[in-house]
């Protein structure tokens, strides 16, 4: 039951974009086309899920035993950067097809605040390694859902006559606002299950 609650919470109710404001830069930056949005989603799902695992393990086996929790920020950002580097090298060697599809998105992810954000949220909720991984996956799925929907909407804008003062960020932000207005409908869903 808790598994369902975490997934629903991350994807619909506390969606990373629409409710938590995490990962906005790439959300607006790479949502012009569905193809790139899908590629970015794949990379984010992979990295966010396993970065959650790695940081939770780091917390449990290194930071807590040594009493170094106050260095968490510095430790996490280094662990995440190293993890992304490793994934890149590993992927290039073992799965060149996947690397070609997702590779260009990987460097962008280190600066995606959603990855560090989910790691911080995991600590705040005192999730263990398994729950952290799940929470990372749920957050990433929610982020992907948001960017895929948005890319679908944005592709239509190419055909429209939009005044230059609104083009780009202003219109993207207003639309994100309208989308998050619709996602408000999920607030309070399964209140007794989802935090």
């Amino acid at each position: 039951m808790e598994v369902v609650a975490v997934i629903l919470g991350g994807v619909l109710i506390n969606n990373f974009i629409f409710m938590r404001y995490l990962g906005l830069c790439p959300f607006i930056g790479v949502s012009r086309q569905l193809e790139t949005a899908l590629g970015m989603s794949g990379a984010v799902i992979f990295v966010m899920t396993f970065a959650s695992t790695v940081t939770a393990a780091f917390e449990q086996f290194i930071l807590v035993p040594l009493g170094l929790e106050y260095l968490r920020t510095i430790a996490y950002i280094l662990v995440i950067a190293a993890f992304v580097q490793l994934v890149e090298i590993f992927m290039k060697k073992t799965a060149p097809g996947l690397y070609r599809a997702l590779g260009i998105y990987l460097p962008l992810i280190t600066t995606n605040c959603a990855v560090l954000g989910v790691a911080m949220l995991n600590v705040r909720n005192s999730y263990g390694i398994l729950m952290s991984t799940l929470n990372g996956l749920a957050g990433a799925l929610g982020w992907s859902l948001a960017i895929i929907i948005f890319a679908g909407i944005r592709e239509r804008w190419k055909l429209m006559d939009i005044p230059p003062v609104l083009e780009g960020f202003p219109l993207a932000l207003v639309s994100t606002g309208l989308m998050s207005l619709a996602f408000l409908g999920f607030s309070g869903l399964f209140r007794n299950l989802v935090k």
Partner: protein, 328 residues
């Protein structure tokens, strides 16, 4: 090449005359529900409808003047947005509520994106969702007793069904006539159905969207409506008690924000019905129609992209392409 073919989106209506004609049909279809609201809730209903329409038309004209575009209030779409928003409001809200709601609907949800045909959410529903998030107390408590016009803050039938409010449920006859607490235009089922059937008969809307919507809501409530027991829920009440009929016939069928293909429209109806069910049974609000339709508006471009009609000669075409690719 394929992409370009798929993206060409609704409306496939050419020329302002036809747009105006269709909009006129929708307005005619809304007249029974408007009259019913006047009988049920009195002059307050008239004032709210007038304020809402006036604000919608004025916002459209002012915005288009300000950005030096052709003023398009003549296509009547702003009038419809105004009426539809008024229909979703509790009858005792202060008049600035419809004024702000319509202005938001027209400017933020529609005109900023380039006007009619460029918006991706239904303007009236975006306006209602905005009002609900901004002034929840007005939007959930400003009810009027039908026919007696007393202001009351007791629970609507849906809230009673959900168990979040105290009150008695009216009988089926009162539901059909609309003699119950509720928003202006959602209560009178018969008047709404009259308009809906007119629109289907005139070929203005596709029956698939209301069918998918109401069908999903009926079956879903029947199966899951009663906690702890399957197939014990009251599906008929689920359709009568909230805004499902208003939403299914008049909001979800909006050309601009619903899919182009027949199959896509069925999916749209089913999806909106499913989300409505989810919110009604397990969500934080008593009613989910607004959000069900808005959320399906968001995925409409994706539905249009992935649910494409099969056309004659497709298999042949693909075989030919593969042969050509192999030959190279």
């Amino acid at each position: 090449m394929e992409e370009k073919l798929v993206i060409s989106s609704s409306p496939h209506i050419k020329g302002p005359k036809t747009v105006r004609g269709i909009m006129l049909d929708v307005i005619i279809a809304l007249i029974p529900a408007c009259l019913a609201s006047l009988i049920l809730f009195g002059w307050k209903a008239l004032l709210i409808i007038m304020a809402s329409v006036a604000s919608a038309v004025a916002s459209e004209a002012l915005y288009e003047k300000a950005v030096k575009r052709e003023v398009t209030v003549g296509d009547l779409s702003a009038v419809i947005t105004g009426i539809l928003l008024a229909m979703t409001l509790p009858p005792n809200v202060p008049l600035w509520i419809p004024v702000i709601g319509s202005a938001f609907a027209i400017v933020i949800a529609k005109q900023i994106f380039g006007g009619l045909g460029c918006n991706f959410v239904n303007p009236a529903l975006a306006g209602r969702a905005f009002l609900l998030a901004a002034w929840p107390m007005h939007m959930t408590r400003d009810w009027l007793n039908p026919l007696t016009y007393d202001a009351v803050t007791s629970a609507t039938p849906l809230a009673v069904l959900k168990g979040t409010g105290q009150g008695t449920l009216p009988g089926i006859k009162d539901f059909l006539l609309g003699v119950r607490l509720g928003s202006l235009g959602e209560t009178s089922v018969l008047a709404l159905l009259l308009g809906g059937i007119y629109l289907i008969a005139r070929g203005v809307i596709d029956y698939r969207i209301p069918l998918g919507f109401l069908g999903t809501l009926f079956v879903g409530t029947l199966v899951f409506g009663k906690p702890g027991a399957f197939f014990q829920g009251d599906g008929v009440l689920a359709i009568l008690a909230g805004g499902a009929i208003l939403g299914a016939f008049f909001m979800a069928t909006d050309y601009v924000t619903s899919p182009v293909t027949a199959r896509g429209r069925l999916y749209m109806g089913i999806g909106a019905g499913f989300i409505t069910l989810l919110i009604r049974l397990w969500g934080g609000y008593p009613e989910g129609v607004t959000y069900g339709i808005l959320l399906m508006n968001l995925v409409t471009p994706l539905i249009d992209r992935f649910v494409v009609p099969r056309y004659y000669g497709y298999a042949h075409d693909r075989a030919a392409k593969e042969a050509a690719a192999g030959g190279r």
